[in-house]
């Protein structure tokens, strides 16, 4: 019986210590390493036309029901809030040689979205939009 109680205590202590979030974690903490995060938050496109990619990004965000709050063509920045789920996203677009790289980070409620599938969904939507832009589907 004593063993059982000890085991239970150890488990609860481990769980509560794991859940302990410090100020440092909140300000500088990341769920994955920098490289891992950049990997699933970024997608490269075979074009050097930054403006076209940014316009496709705006279209995608309109399609997905975002309120676009900030844009800066020079910095390649677009940020907005989703009306459908309340999440906030910031996207940056930059050219690298003949490629354009889009990076997105998202937050839902009080936590960062760290599920790679969510980012994959967004980039799939962006790809469709780029295809439509390139082939002019009005």
């Amino acid at each position: 019986m004593k063993n059982k109680i000890n085991l239970l205590l150890i488990i609860f202590l481990t769980l509560s210590l794991n859940a302990c979030v410090t100020t440092r974690d909140n300000i500088l903490g990341t769920p994955h390493t920098q490289v891992q995060m950049r990997n699933y938050q970024s997608r490269s496109f075979d074009t050097s036309n930054k403006t076209m990619v940014m316009q496709a990004l705006l279209s995608t965000m309109q399609d997905l029901g975002f309120m676009i709050e900030k844009t800066d063509e020079k910095l390649g920045l677009v940020s907005g809030t989703s009306f459908s789920n309340g999440s906030k996203v910031t996207a940056t677009v930059r050219t690298q040689g003949k490629k354009t790289i889009v990076r997105l980070n998202a937050q839902s409620g009080y936590s960062a979205i760290s599920n790679p599938i969510t980012y994959q969904n967004f980039f799939n939507s962006l790809e469709q939009s780029l295809f439509l832009e390139a082939n002019e589907v009005e």
Binding site: D63, M67, T71, S84, S108, N115, T118, E133, A134
Partner: protein
């Protein structure tokens, strides 16, 4: 046997905790099947000298409609605007709410009178009349609009995509989001933009 159950519960709880964080937000940012139809509804092609001419004309329309511009990026042909307004039919709904409250008070008073005549007592005291008006109606709304002008790649002119949406609050403080999909609203906006293009082109 008891030990087995105990361990099963602990292991299941740990498994649920460790897996639950992996499956969040998987439905976010997926396009719905109607997005192309919406895009068509929200887009119209205009002929103009340049992108700036359309943006200027569109800003004039927004000022006509009482919008406040929030963000612009003329290099991308983009701006967003918003305005706060009363909800649709607010005064009718307020009158209805008052009418329901009066009815509530009257029926509560009638019940009270009936109970007194039949020597029944309320649990909260005989002089207490409780009204419970649950009539929910919209009170205010914030209307958003986003506009993007892009050069048409296949035709002459520019594609203008305007998108309207709004957040509506009710008298209980709850809010809901609504995308405006009324074809007539978009048609009217584009008609106004066409007129504005003509007016600004002629310096009116």
């Amino acid at each position: 046997m008891k030990f087995k159950t105990f361990y099963t519960i602990i292991i299941s709880a740990l498994l649920i905790l460790s897996f639950s964080s992996c499956t969040f937000y998987e439905d976010y940012y997926k396009l719905d099947p109607q997005y192309l139809a919406r895009r068509q509804l929200e887009t119209k092609r205009f002929e103009a000298k340049n992108q700036t001419q359309i943006l200027e004309a569109a800003l004039q329309v927004l000022q006509d409609l009482g919008f406040n511009v929030q963000e612009t990026e003329s290099n991308l042909g983009f701006f967003s605007a918003e305005k706060d307004r009363e909800a649709d039919n607010l005064q009718v709904n307020q009158s209805l709410s008052v009418a329901f409250t009066i009815l509530d008070i009257l029926s509560a008073a009638a019940n009270d009178h009936y109970d007194r005549r039949h020597h029944r007592h309320h649990s909260k005291g005989s002089s207490y009349i409780e009204t419970d008006n649950d009539y929910v109606y919209d009170t205010v709304q914030k209307i958003y609009m986003t506009l993007v002008v892009t050069k048409s790649k296949t035709n002459k002119g520019f594609n203008v995509r305007a998108e309207f949406s709004r957040i509506i609050w009710n008298n209980k403080g709850e809010k809901r989001y609504e995308k405006i999909l009324d074809r007539e609203i978009y048609q009217e906006f584009f008609d106004k933009l066409a007129s504005s293009l003509f007016l600004t082109a002629h310096n009116i």
